[in-house]
Subunit: 90 residues, 2 copies
Protein backbone atom coordinates (compact mmCIF):
# COMPACT_ATOMS: atom_id res chain seq x y z
CA UNK A 1 0.00 0.00 0.00
CA UNK A 2 2.85 2.37 0.85
CA UNK A 3 3.85 2.78 -2.77
CA UNK A 4 0.43 4.22 -3.60
CA UNK A 5 1.05 7.27 -1.45
CA UNK A 6 2.40 10.38 -3.13
CA UNK A 7 3.64 13.13 -0.84
CA UNK A 8 3.08 16.58 -2.32
CA UNK A 9 5.83 19.09 -1.56
CA UNK A 10 7.27 22.16 -3.23
CA UNK A 11 8.16 20.79 -6.65
CA UNK A 12 6.28 21.93 -9.77
CA UNK A 13 2.74 20.59 -9.88
CA UNK A 14 3.30 18.61 -13.09
CA UNK A 15 5.96 16.46 -11.40
CA UNK A 16 3.30 15.09 -9.07
CA UNK A 17 0.70 14.80 -11.83
CA UNK A 18 3.16 12.64 -13.77
CA UNK A 19 3.78 10.49 -10.67
CA UNK A 20 0.04 9.89 -10.22
CA UNK A 21 -0.58 9.14 -13.90
CA UNK A 22 2.36 6.70 -13.91
CA UNK A 23 1.06 4.84 -10.87
CA UNK A 24 -2.42 4.51 -12.33
CA UNK A 25 -1.07 3.42 -15.71
CA UNK A 26 0.97 0.77 -13.87
CA UNK A 27 -2.29 -0.74 -12.64
CA UNK A 28 -2.80 0.92 -9.26
CA UNK A 29 -6.48 1.74 -9.03
CA UNK A 30 -6.03 3.75 -5.82
CA UNK A 31 -3.57 6.56 -5.29
CA UNK A 32 -3.38 8.66 -2.14
CA UNK A 33 -2.08 12.22 -2.13
CA UNK A 34 -0.78 13.62 1.14
CA UNK A 35 0.23 17.22 1.81
CA UNK A 36 0.54 19.64 4.66
CA UNK A 37 0.68 23.40 5.15
CA UNK A 38 0.92 25.46 2.00
CA UNK A 39 1.33 22.37 -0.18
CA UNK A 40 -2.35 21.56 0.42
CA UNK A 41 -3.43 23.82 -2.47
CA UNK A 42 -0.95 22.04 -4.73
CA UNK A 43 -2.37 18.64 -3.77
CA UNK A 44 -5.83 19.82 -4.85
CA UNK A 45 -4.32 21.11 -8.12
CA UNK A 46 -2.74 17.69 -8.75
CA UNK A 47 -6.02 15.85 -8.20
CA UNK A 48 -7.96 18.28 -10.42
CA UNK A 49 -5.41 18.19 -13.25
CA UNK A 50 -5.20 14.39 -13.22
CA UNK A 51 -8.93 13.90 -13.56
CA UNK A 52 -9.66 16.82 -15.88
CA UNK A 53 -6.78 16.48 -18.31
CA UNK A 54 -5.30 12.99 -18.10
CA UNK A 55 -7.53 10.29 -16.61
CA UNK A 56 -11.24 11.17 -16.82
CA UNK A 57 -12.20 7.85 -15.17
CA UNK A 58 -10.28 8.93 -12.10
CA UNK A 59 -12.45 10.26 -9.28
CA UNK A 60 -11.84 11.75 -5.89
CA UNK A 61 -13.15 9.10 -3.54
CA UNK A 62 -12.65 10.94 -0.26
CA UNK A 63 -10.84 13.91 1.22
CA UNK A 64 -9.73 13.98 4.85
CA UNK A 65 -8.07 16.74 6.82
CA UNK A 66 -6.18 16.61 10.06
CA UNK A 67 -3.83 18.57 12.30
CA UNK A 68 -0.26 17.53 13.10
CA UNK A 69 2.02 18.86 15.80
CA UNK A 70 5.51 19.71 14.66
CA UNK A 71 8.29 20.11 17.21
CA UNK A 72 10.85 22.82 16.61
CA UNK A 73 14.46 22.58 17.73
CA UNK A 74 13.75 24.73 20.79
CA UNK A 75 11.05 22.33 21.98
CA UNK A 76 8.12 24.49 20.88
CA UNK A 77 5.29 22.82 18.99
CA UNK A 78 3.45 24.27 16.03
CA UNK A 79 0.23 22.97 14.53
CA UNK A 80 0.04 22.33 10.81
CA UNK A 81 -2.98 21.23 8.78
CA UNK A 82 -2.77 18.14 6.58
CA UNK A 83 -4.88 16.77 3.74
CA UNK A 84 -5.31 13.30 2.29
CA UNK A 85 -6.94 12.95 -1.10
CA UNK A 86 -8.00 9.45 -2.18
CA UNK A 87 -8.04 9.02 -5.94
CA UNK A 88 -9.78 6.03 -7.45
CA UNK A 89 -9.92 4.86 -11.04
CA UNK A 90 -13.38 3.55 -11.81
CA UNK B 1 -28.58 29.72 2.67
CA UNK B 2 -26.23 32.33 1.17
CA UNK B 3 -25.33 33.75 4.56
CA UNK B 4 -23.88 30.41 5.63
CA UNK B 5 -21.12 30.63 3.03
CA UNK B 6 -17.79 32.09 4.12
CA UNK B 7 -15.34 32.93 1.35
CA UNK B 8 -11.74 32.43 2.44
CA UNK B 9 -9.29 34.96 1.00
CA UNK B 10 -6.01 36.50 2.06
CA UNK B 11 -6.91 37.87 5.48
CA UNK B 12 -5.40 36.38 8.66
CA UNK B 13 -6.78 32.93 9.39
CA UNK B 14 -8.30 33.96 12.73
CA UNK B 15 -10.60 36.47 10.99
CA UNK B 16 -12.31 33.57 9.22
CA UNK B 17 -12.29 31.37 12.33
CA UNK B 18 -14.14 34.13 14.17
CA UNK B 19 -16.65 34.42 11.33
CA UNK B 20 -17.38 30.68 11.46
CA UNK B 21 -17.66 30.57 15.24
CA UNK B 22 -20.01 33.58 15.18
CA UNK B 23 -22.28 31.95 12.59
CA UNK B 24 -22.47 28.71 14.54
CA UNK B 25 -23.10 30.52 17.84
CA UNK B 26 -25.93 32.39 16.10
CA UNK B 27 -27.65 29.06 15.51
CA UNK B 28 -26.46 28.07 12.03
CA UNK B 29 -25.73 24.35 12.19
CA UNK B 30 -24.15 24.30 8.73
CA UNK B 31 -21.41 26.59 7.51
CA UNK B 32 -19.72 26.29 4.12
CA UNK B 33 -16.18 27.46 3.49
CA UNK B 34 -15.19 28.28 -0.08
CA UNK B 35 -11.71 29.06 -1.33
CA UNK B 36 -9.67 28.92 -4.49
CA UNK B 37 -6.01 28.85 -5.45
CA UNK B 38 -3.54 29.43 -2.65
CA UNK B 39 -6.31 30.23 -0.17
CA UNK B 40 -7.26 26.53 -0.19
CA UNK B 41 -4.68 25.75 2.52
CA UNK B 42 -6.08 28.56 4.64
CA UNK B 43 -9.61 27.14 4.32
CA UNK B 44 -8.35 23.81 5.69
CA UNK B 45 -6.61 25.69 8.53
CA UNK B 46 -9.89 27.45 9.38
CA UNK B 47 -11.84 24.19 9.51
CA UNK B 48 -9.18 22.48 11.64
CA UNK B 49 -8.84 25.38 14.09
CA UNK B 50 -12.62 25.71 14.51
CA UNK B 51 -13.12 22.07 15.42
CA UNK B 52 -9.94 21.56 17.43
CA UNK B 53 -9.91 24.74 19.47
CA UNK B 54 -13.36 26.30 19.52
CA UNK B 55 -16.27 23.99 18.68
CA UNK B 56 -15.45 20.30 19.27
CA UNK B 57 -18.97 19.24 18.21
CA UNK B 58 -18.29 20.73 14.79
CA UNK B 59 -17.36 18.15 12.15
CA UNK B 60 -16.31 18.29 8.53
CA UNK B 61 -19.27 16.77 6.75
CA UNK B 62 -17.88 16.77 3.22
CA UNK B 63 -15.10 18.29 1.14
CA UNK B 64 -15.49 18.90 -2.59
CA UNK B 65 -12.99 20.21 -5.09
CA UNK B 66 -13.51 21.66 -8.52
CA UNK B 67 -11.81 23.64 -11.28
CA UNK B 68 -12.88 27.12 -12.40
CA UNK B 69 -11.86 28.97 -15.52
CA UNK B 70 -10.80 32.55 -14.99
CA UNK B 71 -10.68 34.98 -17.92
CA UNK B 72 -7.86 37.48 -17.98
CA UNK B 73 -8.19 40.92 -19.53
CA UNK B 74 -6.45 39.75 -22.70
CA UNK B 75 -9.04 37.01 -23.23
CA UNK B 76 -6.80 34.16 -22.05
CA UNK B 77 -8.28 31.66 -19.60
CA UNK B 78 -6.49 30.15 -16.62
CA UNK B 79 -7.66 27.21 -14.56
CA UNK B 80 -7.81 27.52 -10.81
CA UNK B 81 -8.70 24.83 -8.27
CA UNK B 82 -11.47 25.43 -5.75
CA UNK B 83 -12.49 23.76 -2.50
CA UNK B 84 -15.76 23.64 -0.57
CA UNK B 85 -15.67 22.48 3.03
CA UNK B 86 -19.01 21.68 4.66
CA UNK B 87 -18.95 22.14 8.43
CA UNK B 88 -21.74 20.72 10.52
CA UNK B 89 -22.45 21.09 14.22
CA UNK B 90 -23.69 17.80 15.60
Amino acid sequence: MEENIIYIGNKPVMNYVLAVVTQINNGNENVYLKARGKAISRAVDVAEIVRNRFIPECEIDEIKTNTEEIKNNDGMTTNVSTIEIYLKKE
